[in-house]
Each structure stands twice: as C-alpha cells, then as structure tokens.
C-alpha cells in the first residue's frame, strides 16, 4: 500500500506492506535509525516518535496509521545545525548513558515542554513513566528536562527583552 507523511519536515511517499509497523518503516525504509526498538509491547518507549506533536510508540503503530500526518523523530530535533534545548539539557545533566532510550525520552520531553513550559519534577516523572531507562535511574533525566525548561524560559525572557529594545534581529 502507499503511505505518505511528513517526516522531520520532508514529505515522502512509499509503497509498503500494510502490516508494516511505523518503527520498521522509519528504520528500515526511511533509514532513520535514531528511533529504536526495545520491547514490542508498548512498555519501554525506546520507539517513541511524535505524530502531530504527540508522543506515540511507533512499535505498536502501523505506518499506515501515520499516513497523512506529521512525524518527528530524534533526527528532526536539530534544525539547521542548532540543537533543540532538550538535546543540550540531556548532555549537560548526564541524562543519557548508553543512549538507547534517549531519543524517545527527548521526544517525550519536547512534547511535555511544548504543553507545559515549567513542569514540576513529579510532572516530568509522570510524562516519562511510559518509558524505561536501565542506565540512569531517571534522576538525571528529570534534571535534564528541568535544565531545558530553565534554558527555554531564559531564552524567552531574553527575546522579549530584545524585541522590546529593538535589537531582536541580532539574536
């Protein structure tokens, strides 16, 4: 069957088996291997991608179900050579070790921060509770997301200030 979707800002169409899972479509057909696979049962969340901005487990989503939608993978976080603050936060706070769960964690974090710019530690823990990390024990992931929230908050304040003072175009 034919599927068409926007992946990280680029539209594409492919002829695939109707049963193909989104995770396999992304990894094997589109060759975006940053999305990982870990359990088959929606428990581990290493396969999380964003569909229209919402975190979704791509191991239990058919590629066909994403057809006509907008998919964001970890490869789509960095735009024009500029890292998403979430990526910077995970590096700054040691939010990753082996890096296998990290793409899914960062995408969930991105979705959370888009909805809630100043989440509490509890809200962060709840947001990532559908995902498993075997390496970090989660504290540093929570801190990474808090770091990002702070950084984005300050960046917003900065841009408001710059806009008010008429120097925003330099930022």
């Amino acid at each position: 069957m034919q599927v068409s979707m926007e992946i990280n800002g680029e539209q594409r169409s492919d002829e695939i088996e109707p049963r193909m899972l989104l995770v396999h479509y992304l990894r094997d057909v589109v060759r975006l291997t940053g999305t990982h696979w870990g359990c088959d049962t929606s428990n581990c969340g290493t396969c999380v991608v964003l569909i229209d901005g919402e975190p979704v487990k791509s191991c239990t989503t058919l590629a066909a179900m994403a057809s006509g939608h907008r998919v964001t993978t970890v490869e789509g976080l960095e735009v024009d050579g500029v890292l998403d603050p979430v990526q910077e936060g995970f590096m700054a706070c040691h939010g990753l070790q082996c890096g296998f769960c990290t793409p899914g964690m960062m995408l969930t974090a991105r979705a959370l921060l888009n909805e809630n710019a100043d989440p509490s530690a509890e809200e962060i823990r709840e947001a990532i509770s559908g995902q498993i990390c075997r390496c970090t024990g989660y504290s540093t992931i929570v801190r990474s997301i808090q770091w990002t929230a702070m950084a984005e908050d300050e960046a917003r304040e900065q841009s408001v200030y710059l806009a008010a003072s008429g120097t925003g175009s330099q930022a």
């Binding site: 088996e17 049963r19 193909m20 396999h24 990894r27 094997d28 060759r31 291997t33 940053g34 999305t35 990982h36 696979w37 870990g38 359990c39 088959d40 049962t41 428990n43 581990c44 290493t46 993978t73 490869e75 990526q87 590096m91 700054a92 706070c93 040691h94 990753l96 070790q97 082996c98 890096g99 296998f100 769960c101 960062m106 530690a121 509890e122 823990r125 709840e126 990532i128 509770s129 559908g130 995902q131 498993i132 990390c133 075997r134 390496c135 970090t136 024990g137 989660y138 504290s139 540093t140 992931i141 929570v142 801190r143 808090q146 770091w147 702070m150 950084a151 908050d153 300050e154 960046a155």
Partner: protein
C-alpha cells in the same frame, strides 16, 4: 520536589543556554561526555542499525516445551516460502560439527537442539529470509513433533532420585548435579557456632532476575566469500574473548575473524555470553554467502539469554549477646538452568560469592554450595552482579539485620561495632580474599548524617504509634572487582589481563586503543581523561578506540566492574611509558640530562628553570621529525602494554533507604535513598554518580518488582515487559549520593571501579527497610520481590517464598 532536584534546578538556572563544560579539566574531574553529541542526535550506530548490501534476516524457531524429545522436524513448507533463503535445523549443524558450542564455564550448550529441548524457548531451527517479517512468517511453517518429558523446575527437587535427567548429552550423567563448591574453614566455623551465645538462621532467597538491557542481543555476520574473513557486528561486552572462542569452536582462523561491538544499548552482563543466535548468524552467512542479521525480540531476550541469581541460601550468624559477630556460615542451592552458562573465572564456579563475609572482622566463615541443572534457560552471572557479589552482599546484609532484630539492636550500631578497622588493611578475610584498602566508619557516618538517621528513627517511632508503616534499611557492602590477576583468573583459559595502546601523533593529538568496550559507561570520556591526566594532552585531543578486534589490543572485556580497575590501570601505565620516552626526547631538546627534568602536566621543564621547557606536543613533533633524537632512541611516540592486576580492588559503600508501606494495599514506596560510595580515586564524578544512580534503580527493581518466574510446566511467566516489571521514573526516588575516597594502594591511579556497586549494595537496603517497616507484625524476614501481594501475605503471617 526533593531537595537535590531543587538544587539542580537552581544550578541549571545559572547555566542556561551553554553546556557546563567551561571548567573542563585536563585529566580528572567533572566533564561532559565525548559520546553524547552523536547519541543525542540519534546518530549512534547500534547493531540493528547496521545495514549491508544484500543483507538477509534470520529468525529462530524456539521450543514451546521446557523438556521434550524432538521426534521430527519438517521444514519443507518453510523452505518453499518465496522469500526464504535457508532453513537450518540442529541436524544440519550436527553434520558440520556445530550443533554444540562451549559455554564460558567449560560446559556445552546446544546451538540448535538435536536430541531434545531442555528449556522452554530453546533454539530449535532458524530461517533466513529477505526481510524480517518474512523470516518470522516462515517460522510458522516449520512443523516440529515433540514428545514431552517430565520437567525439573523446582530447584529443591532437582536432585531427587526420581527427577528426570536433563543432561543426557553428557556421558555418565545419571542425575541433575552440576557442581559442588566450598570455601572457608568448616571445622573452625563449627567450633565458633558451638560455643556462640547467639545464633540466628534464615533461608534467604535471591530469585531469578534478568538484566534486560533496552537493546536486545543481536549480530550481523558477514563472511567475505573470497578471503573467508568473518566480520561480526555484535552486541558483545567482550569482543576479544568472543573472537577467540569462535576461533576455537568453529575452527575459523583467528586472524580471519573481526568482531565489531558498535554502540551497545546497555549490557549489565547480558552481553557477556555467546548465544546460539550469534553462531546461527555466522553459519548462515557462511552457507549463503551474504550478510545475515539476527536481532532477538524482547521475549527471546527475557526467556533465553543470560539470567542472574537464582540462589537459595541458608544463612547463619554466630555472635555474642552484645552484638559482636563471630562467624558466618551459609549453605547454598544454586539453580544453573539447563546448561552451565555462567560467565565466571574458571577457578570460581560460584563467582566471587566467597566475599560473603562482607565488611566485618570475623573469627571464622564457611560456605558450601550445590549447583544443579533444571529445565530453565542458562546463565547465572549477569545483571551487574560483580560475579555473584550481589548474592553474597544480600545474604550477609540481610543476616546482619536479622541478628539486629534478635538482639534488639540498632542495625547501624551493630554494623559500626563489627567493621574491619582501617589499620587492619590490607585485610585477609576468613575465606582468603585480601581487601586492598578501606575506611568504613566515615562512609557509614556520612550516610547516616546525610539522611538524618536519628531524626528518622524518631519519626518512625511516632508513626508506629499511629499505625503507619515506615521502614529504614541499611546496607554496607564491600565489593571485589577488577579481575585478574591472570594467575588466578581466566575465562576458558584466557587470562584476565588487559592490553592498551597509546599513540601520540606528530601534532600532539593522541589515539588510545582499549580492549574493553563501553555499553554506556562512558569509556570514550573516562579513558581520555586518564590519558590526559598522565600525559597532559587535552581530553578533546584524545580519540578512544574500542570494540573492534582488528584495531584494539587483546583483553577480556567490560564486566564485573573491571574496566577502570584493569584497563584504566593499563591506560595510565601505557601513558607513563610514553611519557618516559618523551622525557628522553625532551632531554635532547633541552640539552640536559633526563634526571634534570621534571614533569608539569603537559610539559617537561628543566628543574629550577621554568623558562626552559618543552610541551608534549613539541616532543611529539620532534619524535616524528627529521631532527636528531637521543642516541639509540627510535622515532615515534607510542607504546603498548598488557596490564596484569596484582589484586582485585575493593570498593565499598553505605546505603540507607526509607520506605513507606501502605497498610491498606501493602504497596511499598521508596521515599528516600542515600548512597555513599567509595570507589577510590574519582576520574569523572558526573559519570560515577550516573553509574550509582542506575544501579540504585536496579535495586528497586530487584527488591520490589523484578522476577523471572516459571509455572510447573517450565513456562516462563516473565516473557515480556508487561510481566517482567522494571522500574519507571514513578517507582524510584530522586537519588541522594555522597562519597568518600580511599584509593586502592596497588592501582596506578588509585581507582577501584564503580559500575556495579549500587546494584550490589542497594537490594538489601531496600529489603531491610521493608522488613523494618513490618516490624510491628513481628516480621524479621521477607523475600524479594516485595510486591504488594507478597508484602500483604507477609503482613498476614503467610509469607510465600518466591521459589
């Protein structure tokens, strides 16, 4: 929000927008990881990311029975599938002499079952097809006729006279006995017990658990048709050991085998053994002449690959009435599954369980063990266990708490009273282990202070008055990590020493090549820091090469927390070797004698004249340049070494946990956890903290949630992450960590290793806390995992042992 999360948040506020690497050290200290920039972009290369031209996919047919004869296998329908390239059975492998392979414990294991299957999900046949879905489809087309046999699942019945014999493949095997083992002095221990004022005894069980790294195991095998060279991309923690084993098993010449361990998505010991799937992929590529990928699914990972623990331990302590521990004795029944697949040094069939005497100064100790075969998956040493020290520490720390209960003593006070004292190090235990260094009381006091121990006891007393169930649990552990020395420790005859090579390029940049392989521990950063500390080249100028047998020196790999103790020492010493040569070159450049030079990190300086100096970069260029070198000296600036550790290193730590148990639902909530670790010299405190955090979460999993259970037919009841419960962010607290530093006297930089300390040390702290919470019910012991149902039954006086 907890205290440390708050403080981190305020730290973060001052550091927004820029990564805090501005104080990056040349050498030891906190610095961000070199591996992260690719991993946070999704640009790591894990085995399943490897995609070669013409690559085929392999899937394995597994047994639905735990014990059954294979009567017949019909693969004709599978072979007729249009996308299938090959279907291979055990009989096919037997023709090539490849149906069996050695385990890392000198036993054998079936690659594909020929005569019978011995555990549920054992490998029976494999299919190679054009894509992963077709390979799985074709598995459904294979018809296997099984004749079920009686199963041996209950470890306590494995040696019954009427138990079905599992290992009929071994000659003269008439029972399910695997091995016996003992350590310590039986008579001396009996004598102490005979005149002891107090004796406590309890059966303590460490159930079967599984490392379950987020990335499952897999491989891509590619045999070049003309040269016959095999390249195997593989999820292995020990690439060199694997290469040699393949050479010995398959008869492939060792120089025609290249193992590449790319980015590894967590290991925890799960990726030490050689699994049948790897061998199948190699065979498939050999037979078909194309690259073949095998990636197991989560069920296959949980039910067939290296499990951990499965020890039933009867523990006993002899003590005085006022709480002086005199002797410890234990008798262990060990379930090794269907094949003895333990990855432990040859002379240590029970791993390093012999350190069960813990952190205490005793008069005597003795352990005996009987290991048996059952119809379960093989394994035994995994899940960050430091070769069975998890079991040893759990036993002794649980038993010490039971003694405290019986004596009505505070468990902290009891431990403080019995610690090995600083002036006793190096301390030889009653089971013959020589602890290199230690200073236990400061670590214990620090943990008590961090958590506010006395106040917590007061709070607990108040809560008990009100019927609330709050528990405080302590664990104090001593680990033994960093195997060799090679004279004592080998895996399949391969001595546990590690090579390391360091090359300084003409412009002063460097490459260091390791035999060990990270699975997330951060070797690219840590090892660059070790070399930077020794040679003064900035960390960013040092490339760390690992996980490729064609491009790294031989060594035994990363497990048992051995990377820093063994390869870390190798990296430091190889850098010193390079520095020694650099000093000779510098003496020529500065026209002074070698003895007149002193090392300032990064340069040699004439003693007493700081204006005369040459940097390591200057020296590197001279070493490779056209100018004169001191007489007799070869050009170049590089060295290699094989480091053979003189002893293990012995990290230790004090852990305190606070839990609240819901009296209505019996649910356990870990409220706080303080971990004070001493791993000797710290290389990168950020990475150390991360290693500790991960192990603490493991501890919550094992103590409260995780267990690989079986039904009476041998079906594994934990075959998915819906059934095998791993902690999420909701089940664990924000960790509070601290440290003391007691360097190892024999390690060149004094480092001891940290990778497994928290996995080893945390389960007893949590169990001790839960049992402490249940004290109002007169409970002094309950087994892991302390699920709400087991805790509830325990509260009702109906504790059910997990196995």
């Amino acid at each position: 929000m907890t205290t440390s999360e708050e403080s981190t948040k305020s730290d973060a506020a001052t550091k927004h927008g820029q990564i805090d690497n501005d104080q990056k050290p040349v050498g030891f200290g906190r610095m961000l990881r070199k591996e992260d920039p690719r991993l946070i972009r999704g640009l790591g290369t894990f085995v399943d990311d490897v995609d070669l031209p013409g690559m085929l996919h392999l899937a394995i047919l597994r047994s639905p029975y735990a014990h059954a004869e294979i009567v017949s296998i019909d693969v004709s329908a599978a072979q007729a599938h249009p996308k299938v390239k090959a279907v291979i059975t055990g009989a096919d492998l037997a023709e090539q002499g490849l149906a069996w392979m050695p385990t890392l414990s000198n036993d054998v294991q079936a690659v594909l079952a020929t005569d019978k299957v011995r555990f549920a999900y054992q490998e029976v046949a494999f299919v190679v097809a054009e894509d992963r879905y077709s390979a799985r489809d074709a598995l459904e087309l294979i018809e296997v006729d099984y004749k079920p046999l009686p199963v041996v699942i209950d470890v306590r019945k494995a040696l019954d006279a009427d138990a079905e014999v599992i290992r009929t493949d071994l000659e003269v095997k008439t029972d399910n006995h695997c091995f016996d083992w003992e350590t310590g002095d039986r008579e001396a221990t009996e004598a102490v017990f005979a005149d002891a004022e107090v004796v406590v005894s309890e059966e303590v069980i460490y159930p079967r658990v599984h490392p379950a790294p987020m990335e499952t195991c897999g491989a891509v095998a590619d045999v070049e048709r003309v040269s016959g060279k095999l390249t195997l991309w593989c999820t292995t923690q020990a690439p060199h050991a694997h290469r040699t084993v393949y050479a010995l098993v398959a008869g492939l010449p060792e120089h025609k085998i290249r193992i590449i361990a790319p980015d590894i998505g967590g290991g925890f010991g799960n990726k030490v053994p050689i699994y049948p799937g790897y061998v199948c992929a190699i065979v498939a590529s050999l037979v078909i002449g194309k690259p073949v990928k095998w990636m197991e699914d989560r069920t296959e990972n949980l039910v067939s690959t290296g499990f951990a623990r499965d020890y039933v331990m009867k523990g006993e302590i002899a003590a005085t009435k006022d709480g002086k521990i005199r002797a410890i004795r234990t008798s262990v029944l060990a379930d090794h599954g269907a094949f003895n697949g333990v990855a432990a040094p040859t002379k240590y069939p029970a791993g390093f369980f012999g350190v069960f005497t813990g952190s205490y100064d005793l008069e005597a100790a003795y352990a005996d063990m009987t290991a048996v075969f059952t119809n379960k998956a093989p394994g035994g040493v995994a899940y960050a266990c430091s070769f069975r020290i998890t079991e040893a520490v759990y036993l002794v720390e649980r038993m010490v708490d039971i003694l405290a209960y019986e004596l009505d003593m505070d468990p902290a006070e009891l431990r403080l009273k019995n610690f090995i004292q600083p002036d006793q190090f190096p301390y030889e235990t009653k089971t013959g282990w020589v602890y290199d260094s230690g200073d236990y009381e400061p670590a214990m006091r620090k943990a008590m202070e961090m958590i506010g121990y006395d106040e917590l006891r007061k709070e607990q007393a108040d809560k008990r008055e009100r019927g609330e169930l709050m528990g405080i649990g302590i664990s104090f552990f001593t680990e033994a990590v960093g195997a060799g020395p090679r004279k004592d420790m080998d895996i399949l005859g391969l001595g546990m020493a590690d090579g390391c090579e360091l090359r300084i390029h003409p412009t002063g940049k460097a490459v260091v090549r390791l035999s060990v392989k990270t699975q997330g521990q951060g070797h690219e950063t840590t090892f660059a820091q070790i070399v930077a500390e020794e040679i003064g080249v900035p960390v960013e100028d040092i490339d760390v090469v690992q996980g490729d047998t064609d491009n790294t020196p031989f060594g035994l790999g990363t497990y048992g927390s051995r990377s820093t103790p063994v390869s870390g020492a190798a990296a430091a010493l190889v850098a010193r070797k390079v520095r020694d040569k650099a000093q000779i070159i510098a003496s020529g450049m500065l026209e002074v004698s070698v003895a007149d030079l002193e090392w300032q990190k990064g340069s040699f300086q004439v003693k007493g004249d700081p204006t005369k100096s040459v940097t390591i970069q200057d020296i590197a260029m001279r070493a490779h340049g056209a100018g004169d070198l001191p007489e007799g000296l070869e050009g170049g600036l590089e060295a290699q070494i094989c480091y053979n550790p003189e002893n293990l290193t012995y990290p230790f730590g004090a852990y305190i946990c606070v839990v609240d148990v819901d009296p209505q639902t019996a649910e356990v909530k870990v409220r706080r956890f303080v971990a004070v670790d001493d791993c000797g010299t710290q290389i990168n405190p950020m990475i150390i903290e991360g290693q500790v955090h991960g192990g603490l979460a493991d501890g919550v999993g094992m103590a409260l949630m995780e267990m690989i259970a079986f039904d009476e037919l041998g079906n594994c009841l934990a075959g998915s992450l819906m059934d095998y419960l791993i902690p999420t962010a909701m089940e664990v607290p924000d960790w509070e960590t601290g440290h003391t530093v007691t360097p190892s006297p024999h390690h060149p930089i004094g480092a001891k290793g940290i990778g497994e300390s928290a996995t080893v040390g945390s389960p007893p702290a949590i169990v001790n806390a839960v049992v402490d919470a249940l004290r109002p019910f007169g409970i002094r012991h309950a087994d892991m995992p302390l699920t709400p149902s087991r805790v509830w039954e325990t509260m009702q006086g109906n504790h059910q042992a997990p196995i």
